[in-house]
């Protein structure tokens, strides 16, 4: 029962992106197509799940500051194989999203070049872990962590699908016949607006009370 509630809370009802505004920058800046969102989600999942799980074994006797430093360093170390794996899976999507140095790909647009490494200091790791995850029993924590990560993926993919449709007239590369393309929605301002509307929609669907 506890696990089921953790699942639904993290994935939908208390979605970290849509209801709390966490980890917004990568979604706003580079999730303008579905493949990019999926790649971002994959790296996010690997880095966050592994770091928070490993971090839960760090002694609580350490002072808060040192624990946070350890979480961040762990995430930065885990990022290295995660990034290599993603580059191996799809060099072109990876190059467009997070690498600055894919051989033979030319110069990657700088605005997108850094968002993947920035996931190693995401607020799930440096903030939410201490405030939320580490107050739970380990099995429940794992379920909640996976649910929250899936919630991030859902928000990233939803935002990317809407933006891809509006800006490029396609979904996951498949052309959709829409009468008007607004290419600006691929820019960060489009990401802010689409994400703002999705957050409002999330509130309406879950009838969330507003402060």
């Amino acid at each position: 029962m506890e696990n089921r509630r953790s699942l639904s809370d993290g994935f939908l009802r208390r979605n970290a992106v849509l209801s709390k505004g966490m980890v917004i920058a990568p979604i706003v800046a580079c999730c303008d197509t579905l493949p990019k969102a999926l790649m971002l989600s994959l790296v996010f999942a690997i880095v966050t799940i592994l770091t928070v799980t490993i971090g839960s074994f760090y002694p609580k006797k350490l002072v808060y500051t040192m624990r946070i430093v350890l979480y961040a360093v762990t995430a930065a170390v885990i990022f290295i194989p995660a990034a290599m794996l993603c580059q191996f899976i799809s060099p072109s999507v990876y190059g467009a999203l997070g690498s600055m140095s894919v051989p033979g790909q030319g110069i990657v647009p700088e605005a997108a070049a850094m968002y993947l490494p920035l996931l190693s200091v995401n607020s799930f790791i440096v903030l939410h872990s201490e405030l939320h995850f580490y107050h739970m029993r380990k099995p429940v924590m794992l379920v909640s962590l996976i649910a929250h990560t899936a919630g991030f993926c859902l928000a990233a993919c939803a935002c990317a699908a809407v933006r891809e449709l509006l800006a490029h007239g396609s979904i996951a590369g498949h052309v959709v016949d829409i009468p008007l393309l607004m290419r600006g929605f691929a820019a960060p301002w489009g990401g802010f607006i689409v994400l703002g509307v999705l957050c409002a929609l999330h509130r309406v669907i879950f009838r969330k009370k507003v402060d």
Binding site: A25, V121, F192, G196
Partner: protein
């Protein structure tokens, strides 16, 4: 006129409006106006010192190799270590010299240390190079603060960090000016608060893009 130019420059290179860096931190702090401004000031300090320290590390220890493929995968680790040193040093200094205020202000240090804005500033300041490009540039491998300098230079690094931090301050001032309206009961319940803040930042960002295109 120079003040106008400076504000325009801060807007068009603003990390929040042009690259969305630090948006989550801004949203977390936006519930309280004084929070927002103090946090912005602390983040300015963090980004400035982090840029300076990193430029010294690159310069003194020859770490520019990390800016080249495939070593660039290790950059987050280097930047995390730099930020960690500043984070711990700041807390120790605060504890030593401002113990009475330590309890009130430590939360700002916690929030300001590990976030996309500070880490992103470092990525922008010390831009890793493409493997092919590196062959042409050799030791001048990285482009530091296109605006100020294209060589490794502590002053350029300080200016870049300061500029990034001041951009965050400017965004905080703009947000704190309209914060009460965005949380007002006249705003439809679904949009009230942080969805409205996101759309507000989106509209400002759109204007900044138009201004930059015009310039």
């Amino acid at each position: 006129m120079w003040l106008f130019s400076a504000v325009v420059s801060l807007l068009t290179t603003n990390l929040i409006f042009t690259k969305a860096l630090g948006t989550s931190t801004l949203l977390a702090a936006s519930k309280n106006r004084s929070n927002l401004l103090i946090l912005a000031a602390v983040m300015t300090g963090f980004s400035t010192v982090a840029c300076l320290l990193t430029s010294l590390l690159f310069d003194l220890f020859g770490l520019t190799i990390l800016l080249q493929y495939p070593y660039s995968f290790g950059l987050p680790l280097l930047y995390t270590l730099v930020i960690s040193v500043i984070y711990v040093a700041t807390l120790l200094l605060m504890f030593r010299f401002a113990r009475k205020r330590f309890a009130n202000y430590k939360k700002y240090v916690h929030l300001a240390a590990f976030n996309c804005a500070v880490m992103g500033t470092l990525y922008l300041a010390f831009e890793p190079v493409d493997a092919l490009k590196e062959l042409q540039f050799h030791s001048d491998a990285f482009v530091l603060a296109r605006i100020f300098s294209d060589t490794l230079n502590p002053i350029g690094a300080i200016l870049f960090g300061l500029q990034a931090g001041l951009g965050f301050v400017l965004a905080s001032v703009m947000l704190s000016a309209v914060r009460e309206r965005l949380y007002d009961k006249e705003v439809p319940a679904a949009f009230r608060g942080f969805p409205a803040v996101l759309i507000f930042i989106g509209v400002i960002s759109m204007a900044v893009y138009a201004m930059a295109a015009g310039a």
